[in-house]
C-alpha cells in the first residue's frame, strides 16, 4: 500500500518546542486522514532542529466510492419540499425510490484521489499549526515558528503538487548546514529520505540523536576514567539543538572545583548546555565538561573544545566573582535589601513575608520537635540569599546558596540546613526535609504562601496556578505525611476557610496518584478530620479491609441497611433511640443486636488509639450477623414495635460503621 512522506523544512526550531510539534503534527494528520475515511497502517511524526517529518504507511490511492441513501419528503408533501430535496440530491423525481410512503434518493459519491486530500491536509496543517509562538517573514502573511523554507511531499513515490504562499511542494530535502558539499537531495519515499539525510549528516529521529549523545558521551568519559552526570532534561534539549550531535569532552581549570558543585552544574547547564562529569571513585565533579557539538570537525573537535573551555572559564570566573562578593556582604545586608523587594502588590515586601514566616515557624516548631529559637533564626535567614549576587544570576540556586553561605559564615549546622532545604520538596521527584528545624521552616514558608494568596483570593483555577499553590499544598502534605507529623492543619486556615477543602483536594489527588481509590478518600474526608497522618492511615486500613471478603460483604450489608432506612424515612420519621432485646425476637435479630452492642465499644476504643485495622476488624464481626439478619428477618413487620426496633437496629449498624468512614460514599 502506498506511503505518504511529508517534511516541513524551516530555519532553526526552538529545541523546547520540538517534541510537542511532532505530537501536534501526528494528531492533526491523523484527524484529517480519518475525516477523509483513511486509517493508515502506521503514522509517525518526528521533529528535529530544522524539520518536522511525517510518514503514513498504507494509504489507498483514492477514497472508496460511497453510496448514500437520503431520506426525502413523504409522498404527497408540498411541491416546494420535493424541489428542495431534488436540488440537494442533484436528481430528478423519477430517479427516487418510494418506500412506506416516503421518497428516498440514492447518491453515488466518487472517491476523491488521495493526493488531493493530502494537498488540502498539508495546507490546513501548515496554516493551523499550534506553535506556542509564530512569526511572519519577508512580505508574506504565512505564520510558522521560523521562516518555512521547503515542503517535501510525496505520495506513492510521486510529488503531491500544491503550493502554500509561494512554497511549492517538491521531492527535495536539505541536509546538514555545514557538513558535506551538496545540501539539497531528492527523496521519493521514507527509505530514500532517511538514507539521504544520513548521507547528508542529519540524524532524523530524536530518540536516535539522544542515544548517540549518551553513548558517545559515556564512551568519551569511560576512556578517561570519568563518569557522565546524566541529565534527562538537558539531553532532550541538546538533542533538539544538533542535527549531527557530536559529544566532545573538554577541560576545565581544576581551581574552579572550589565552587559549590551546584554552581558549576547550573552554570554549565543553563548558560552553556554542557553536561557535568564526575570522578567515579569519589563521586565528586571532575575538572571537565561535555559539550554536544553539531559538527564533526576535521581536527577532531579540538578547536571547539578549546573555545567552549574558554567560555566556561569566563562563566565560572563570574560565578567565583559572585561568591567572593557575596561573602563580603553577608546575611544582614541582604536582609535589609529585602525591604525593597516586592513579594506581591497585595502581600507586601519580602521583608514582611519573612516576618510572617518567622512567626509561623515559631508556632510550628514545638509541634514538630524543633528548637524554637533555632527555627526562628533559620526562618529569618531563609530568604536572604535572594538578594545575593549568585542567586541574582542563578535564581534556581535559591536556598542552596543560602545554605552554603550560612556555613561559610559558620552558622549553626541545623540552621544552615534549614535555609538550604526550606524550599523542598520542589517537585514530585524531590525529597522532603526530615530535620525538625528544616521541617518547621519549610512548612512555614509554604503555609504563608498559601494563606496569603487565599486571603487575597488568588486561588488556582483550572489549569492556571501562577503562584504554584498546588505545589505548595502538596509540599505541605508530603512533609507532614512522610514525616508522620501530627499537625492539625485547620488551625492555619482559620481566616481562609477555603484552604481546608483545597488541602483535602490536594491530598485526594496525592492519594489517587498512589493508586488509592478516590471514593475511599472521600469516605474518610467526610468525617471532617484535619489530621493528615490519621486520614492517610484510615484510607489505607479501609482499602485493605474492603479487599477482604468480610469488608466487601459488610459494605453490601451497610448499603442495604442504608437503603431500607432511606425508603422508610420517606414514609415518616424514623424511630429514635437504640434497639432493645424484644421478647420473641428472631434469633438473627438478637444476634445482630448483640454484635452491634459488642462491636461499637471495641471500634471506638480502636479508633481512639488510631488502630484503624482493629476498628475495621471490629466491624468485620458484624458481617455474619448482618448477612443472617437480612436473610431471615423481615424489617417491615406488621407489628409496629417489631418494625421500629429493627429500624433502630439498622440505624445502629449504619452509625457504627460510619464512625470508621462514610460508607455511603464508597462505590460498590
Amino acid at each position: 500500500m502506498p506511503q505518504l512522506l511529508l517534511e516541513l523544512f524551516s530555519e532553526e526550531i526552538p529545541a523546547r518546542m520540538q517534541a510537542q510539534a511532532a505530537k501536534d503534527l501526528e494528531r492533526m494528520a491523523r484527524e484529517r486522514l480519518a475525516a477523509a475515511g483513511f486509517l493508515p497502517e502506521a503514522l509517525t511524526a518526528m521533529a528535529g532542529p530544522r524539520r518536522l517529518t511525517l510518514v503514513a504507511e498504507g494509504l489507498p490511492v483514492a477514497q472508496p466510492e460511497r453510496h448514500e441513501e437520503l431520506k426525502g419528503p413523504k409522498v404527497g408533501a408540498p411541491p416546494q419540499a420535493m424541489e428542495g430535496f431534488l436540488r440537494k440530491a442533484g436528481l430528478t423525481q423519477d430517479q427516487l425510490t418510494e418506500r412506506d410512503g416516503v421518497y428516498y434518493a440514492h447518491v453515488h459519491k466518487a472517491g476523491r484521489q488521495t493526493t488531493e486530500i493530502v494537498a488540502e491536509m498539508v495546507e490546513e496543517i501548515v496554516r493551523g499549526f499550534p506553535w506556542p509562538k509564530s512569526m511572519t517573514w519577508g512580505y508574506g502573511k504565512l505564520r510558522w515558528v521560523r521562516p518555512l523554507k521547503r515542503i517535501l511531499c510525496v505520495f506513492d513515490r510521486e510529488i503531491v503538487p500544491f503550493s502554500i504562499d509561494g512554497i511549492e511542494s517538491a521531492d527535495l530535502s536539505e541536509g546538514h548546514r555545514f557538513m558535506g558539499k551538496n545540501r539539497v537531495f531528492r527523496a521519493r519515499d521514507f527509505d530514500e529520505y532517511r538514507q539521504g539525510l544520513l548521507a547528508h549528516h542529519v540524524v532524523l529521529d530524536p530518540e536516535e540523536r539522544k542515544a548517540r549523545i549518551l553513548e558517545g558521551a559515556k564512551t568519551l568519559c569511560f576512556a578517561r576514567n570519568l563518569e557522565l552526570v546524566e541529565d534527562q532534561g538537558l539531553l532532550e534539549e541538546v538533542a533538539g539543538l544538533a542535527e549531527w550531535p557530536t559529544p566532545i569532552l573538554g577541560d576545565m581549570d581544576p581551581a574552579f572545583l572550589a565552587l559549590p558543585p551546584e554552581v558549576i552544574r547550573t552554570s554549565m547547564r543553563t548558560h552553556q548546555k554542557y553536561f557535568a562529569v564526575r570522578d567515579p571513585a569519589t563521586g565528586k565533579l571532575a575538572p571537565h565538561f561535555l559539550v554536544v557539538a553539531n559538527i564533526q570537525a576535521p581536527d577532531g573537535g579540538a578547536e571547539i573544545a578549546r573555545g567552549n573551555a574558554k567560555v566556561l572559564s569566563s562563566r565560572l570566573s563570574d560565578a567565583r566573582f559572585f561568591w567572593d562578593e557575596d561573602v563580603k556582604v553577608g546575611f544582614d545586608a541582604w536582609l535589609k535589601k529585602l525591604d525593597g523587594v516586592t513579594f506581591h502588590a497585595k502581600l507586601g515586601t519580602m521583608a514582611e513575608r519573612v516576618e510572617r514566616i518567622v512567626a509561623l515557624a515559631r508556632e510550628i516548631a514545638p509541634m514538630v520537635g524543633a528548637d524554637v529559637e533555632k527555627t526562628a533564626e533559620a526562618a529569618r535567614l531563609a530568604k536572604a540569599d535572594l538578594t545575593s549576587e549568585m542567586v541574582g544570576e542563578f535564581p534556581e540556586l535559591q536556598g542552596v546558596m543560602g545554605g552554603y553561605y550560612a556555613r561559610a559564615f559558620n552558622l549553626d549546622g541545623e540552621i544552615a540546613d534549614a535555609v538550604r532545604d526550606h524550599y523542598k520538596p520542589q517537585g514530585p521527584g524531590d525529597a522532603v526535609p526530615t530535620a525538625p528545624v528544616s521541617i518547621a521552616v519549610a512548612l512555614a514558608d509554604k503555609l504563608d504562601t498559601l494563606v496569603g494568596f487565599f486571603a487575597i483570593d488568588e486561588k488556582p483555577t483550572g489549569s492556571k496556578d501562577p503562584f504554584a499553590l498546588r505545589r505548595a499544598a502538596l509540599g505541605v502534605i508530603r512533609i507532614i505525611t512522610e514525616n508522620g507529623l501530627r499537625l492539625p492543619l485547620n488551625r492555619f486556615a482559620t481566616k481562609t476557610p477555603d484552604l481546608t477543602p483545597f488541602f483535602a483536594d490536594r491530598l485526594k489527588v496525592a492519594l489517587r496518584d498512589q493508586g488509592k481509590r478516590h471514593d475511599l478518600v472521600d469516605a474518610v474526608f467526610a468525617l471532617g478530620d484535619d489530621d493528615l497522618v490519621r486520614i492517610v492511615s484510615r484510607v489505607e486500613a479501609l482499602d485493605a479491609f474492603l479487599k477482604t471478603d468480610d469488608g466487601a460483604n459488610l459494605l453490601a450489608g451497610y448499603k442495604r441497611a442504608a437503603n431500607i432506612l432511606k425508603a422508610e424515612e420517606k414514609k415518616g420519621a424514623l424511630p429514635t433511640g437504640d434497639a432493645t432485646a424484644l421478647a420473641g425476637a428472631p434469633a438473627e435479630e438478637s444476634a445482630l443486636l448483640a454484635a452491634v452492642q459488642n462491636a461499637r465499644p471495641v471500634a471506638d476504643k480502636a479508633l481512639e488509639s488510631e488502630d484503624f485495622a482493629a476498628a475495621m476488624q471490629a466491624l468485620a464481626e458484624l458481617r455474619a450477623p448482618v448477612d443472617a439478619f437480612f436473610e431471615k428477618v423481615l424489617v417491615n413487620d406488621t407489628d409496629v414495635a417489631a418494625r421500629d426496633n429493627r429500624l433502630r437496629l439498622l440505624s445502629q449498624v449504619k452509625t457504627t460503621t460510619e464512625r470508621v468512614a462514610d460508607f455511603s460514599l464508597i462505590a460498590g
Binding site: E12, T136, W137, L241, A297, G307, K310, L312, T342
Partner: protein, 294 residues
C-alpha cells in the same frame, strides 16, 4: 569578500563594512546621540516600520551606564560597539548571508560549532519584539539574529531581519584575546585600551557618582514634554518625527544615567519605562503615517 582576514578591531569593522556593502547595504555612520543599543538608531527602529525596503549596516556605540567597571573588568564596558545590519524585507537566504559574514571575518565554519539557539528579542522601552536566535560559536554568543514582528507597538510589514554583532566580544574571540583592553585596535600597535581605558575610568565615575540627579530628572522631564510638542510642529505638512525621536533617545539615556546613579526606585522603574515607550509609540505612529502617505 576581502581576501585578507582582519587582524585588528578596526580591521574587523572594515571587513564587515566591505561584506555588507557588497550585499547592497547602505553603510551608515553611528547615530550622534547616546543609545543603549544599536537597534535604537533611527535607521533600524524607524526604518523597520512602513512599507519601504531598506538595507543598511553601521557601527553604533552603545552606552550602558550601569555596566561601567572603571576599566577593571576584562569584558564589561559602559561604552562598547555593536555592529548592526538591517535587511528589509529579510531576504530568504539571510542565514546564509550572515554565515558568510562570519567566514569573511576569518571563522572557519568547518572547524567551529555554530548554532542558532532560540532567543526572542524584546525591547520594552521601544515597544518592539521579534523572534530569532542567539548565534553561538563554540558556546559563545557572537550575534543576535531577529525577525522583527512589532516596533513601537505596531506590526511590521514587510518584516525586517536584524543582526547585531557584539564587536568587542567577537573580536576577542576571533583574535584569541582574554582582556578587551589588550585587543589590537589597528594593525600598527595601538590597543583597545590605548583608545578607551581612560574613557571607561572617567565615564564610570561620572555614571555612578558624577551626574547630578536633579539635573538628569529635569532634563528627562524636559524631553518628555518636548516630544509631543515637536510632533505637533510641522514642516511642509509633515510633523517633525525625526527630531522628536531624537528626544526620545535622549530621554532614554537620561533614564539609564539616573538608574546608574541609583536614583530610580524598584517601584518607579516600570513607570519610567512605560513613559519612554509611550513617547516612542507616538513617534512610531507618526512615522508610519508619513511613510504610507509618501
Amino acid at each position: 569578500m576581502s581576501a585578507e582576514k582582519p587582524k585588528s578591531f578596526q580591521g574587523l569593522i572594515l571587513t564587515l563594512h566591505d561584506y555588507w556593502s557588497k550585499q547592497g547595504c547602505v553603510i551608515l555612520q553611528p547615530h550622534d546621540i547616546e543609545v543603549g543599543a544599536g537597534t535604537l538608531h533611527p535607521a533600524t527602529v524607524l526604518r523597520a516600520l512602513g512599507p519601504k525596503p531598506w538595507n543598511a549596516a553601521y557601527v553604533q556605540p552603545s552606552r550602558r551606564p550601569s555596566d561601567g567597571r572603571y576599566g577593571d573588568n576584562p569584558n564589561r564596558l559602559q561604552h562598547y560597539y555593536q555592529y548592526q545590519v538591517i535587511l528589509k524585507p529579510n531576504p530568504a537566504e539571510m542565514q546564509d548571508l550572515y554565515l558568510g559574514s562570519l567566514e569573511a571575518i576569518g571563522l572557519d565554519l568547518r572547524l567551529h560549532d555554530i548554532r542558532f539557539v532560540e532567543d526572542d528579542w524584546e525591547n520594552p522601552t521601544v515597544g518592539a519584539w521579534g523572534l530569532g536566535w542567539e548565534v553561538w560559536c563554540d558556546g559563545m554568543e557572537v550575534s543576535q539574529y531577529t525577525y522583527f514582528q512589532q516596533v513601537g507597538g505596531l506590526d511590521v510589514s514587510p518584516v525586517a531581519g536584524e543582526l547585531t554583532y557584539g564587536l568587542e566580544r567577537l573580536a576577542m574571540y576571533v583574535f584569541g584575546v582574554d582582556n578587551v583592553y589588550d585587543l589590537p585596535f589597528n594593525d600598527a600597535g595601538v590597543s583597545y585600551g590605548d583608545v578607551f581605558l581612560e574613557n571607561e575610568r572617567q565615564q564610570s565615575q561620572a555614571n555612578f557618582h558624577g551626574y547630578d540627579v536633579a539635573t538628569l530628572k529635569r532634563q528627562f522631564e524636559d524631553m518628555e514634554r518636548e516630544v509631543p510638542l515637536m510632533l505637533e510642529r510641522d514642516y511642509q505638512g509633515r510633523s517633525l518625527v525625526l527630531p522628536a525621536y531624537d528626544m526620545v533617545l535622549k530621554a532614554s539615556h537620561l533614564f539609564n544615567l539616573m538608574n546608574a546613579r541609583g536614583a530610580i526606585a524598584v517601584a518607579e522603574r516600570a513607570s519610567y519605562i512605560g513613559r519612554i515607550r509611550d513617547l516612542c509609540k507616538m513617534c512610531a505612529q507618526k512615522w508610519v503615517e508619513q511613510q504610507e502617505a509618501a
